[in-house]
Amino acid sequence: MRRALMCERERIANHLGDIGAICNDVAFTFAHVQCARLRESWQRRSGTLFGHRVMMDAIIPGGVGRDLRPEAAAMLRQDHAALRRAMEPLFDVIEDHPSLDDRLLGTGRLDATDAVALGCTGYVAKASGQGYDVRRDNPYPPYDVLSVEGAVETGGDVAARVGVRIAEMRGSLALLDQLLDALPDGAIHTPLPAPAPHAMGLGLVEGWRGEVLSFVRFAADGRIARFFPRDPSWFTGPAMERLILGNIVPDFPGCNKSVNGSYSGQDR
């Protein structure tokens, strides 16, 4: 539950940043500044309550790094309500603004067959009609007992990828309140048993960009022999090459930001 709380917070923070940045790339700085403001206050709260602004070392093998303070639930609930109040008028503007429509609608289109053929997940696939979401379709705790509303659009363009992010932010805020209601007491960390020689493990979660896969293999002495994290950007990178075809150069930044692939994941 605590892990999901952090993951949904991360999803909201990054979607906020992306929505603003996409608007900024088509010179609509108003939305960028407003989203950056909301993101900053959100990250400050993560720093205070979870110990790190971008949640590093907050999720660790066997559990979470530290527990929430007793008063945290009330503070978080206030935050959720405040963000809901603040973001809806912004989304009203973003979803219905002629200059944004002009630049985002029909730009950087990825059709459904390409999204499937390239193995895309996350907001890139969801904006091209592929609703697969690990939290709902291959659920892991605690999502197996929560109702995850998937976001899906069919436009396949930058506007659709903005729309998916907006829908996911609303969904994550709903999940955050459900998680707080169900937050259990008890240990926040279980000591890990020593791994068997040559043991292997595979983890799949719905990260904010899409399906994240982690593979680990241990050596005979219990040390890690191989670790491979696979970010959704492995698949959305090639999709980027496909979706920019036929677009004008000034639309490249918006296309790029709407995919927002991780360079550190696979590019260097």
């Binding site: 500044v33 407003q34 950056a36 900053e40 971008v54 503007v93 991780s262 260097r268």
Partner: protein
């Protein structure tokens, strides 16, 4: 248009005061300055950010400097799109072998006098990645570093503190700065 005005006016100004200066504060944040050549830049610093192999957490916090809470441009700091327009390189990450040549060429493309600021623990020391088949370690293993801002990632406030310190005019370090700054100055003066 009315909705935008209503939102903007309703939000008001959220920008906060800049951080307190002083050596003690720098020490607390672990920021190390090798030289002060700030007066050369006329209290304005054009920065080219180079991601030499970071996990992008440093980039998130560098981005945050431009949000309305920190509003880094009011201090004369702005980010530029080419090293040829830059006074300083702000480098993050342990330098991956793939980025080693690119970083060196970026440094060569930056006009002198120039500053190199290493941001984040990886850039300062190589961090948990160190030196390996894929990593050259800290930035100073590839190009000379003038300012180190540690942190994983450094908070926007620590970054702001480090940048402002880099822009301070030479004071007690004036003598130390002289020799190291002069070759760069000579190149510049020859134009």
């Amino acid at each position: 248009m009315l909705r935008i005005l209503r939102q903007a006016l309703g939000t008001g100004i959220v920008t906060e005061d800049g951080p307190a200066g002083g050596e003690a504060e720098l020490e607390r944040l672990g920021i190390r300055l090798r030289r002060h050549i700030g007066e050369r830049f006329g209290r304005s610093l054009a920065i080219r950010q180079v991601d030499a192999g970071s996990c992008n957490a440093c980039e998130l916090e560098i981005h945050a400097l431009n949000n309305p809470y920190y509003d880094v441009e009011r201090f004369g700091v702005h980010f530029v799109a080419s090293p040829r327009h830059a006074d300083a390189l702000l480098v993050t990450g342990p330098v991956s072998r793939h980025m080693e040549t690119a970083l060196r060429r970026t440094w060569l493309a930056t006009p002198a006098p120039k500053l190199v600021i290493a941001a984040g623990s990886c850039a300062c020391t190589g961090g948990e990645f160190g030196i390996s088949y894929a990593s050259c370690g800290g930035v100073e293993n590839v190009v000379p570093v003038d300012v180190k801002i540690p942190g994983c990632p450094p908070t926007p406030l620590a970054l702001l503190q480090g940048l402002l310190a880099a822009m301070q005019p030479a004071e007690v370090h004036a003598d130390a700065a002289g020799p190291s700054a002069s070759p760069a100055g000579a190149t510049d003066g020859g134009r």
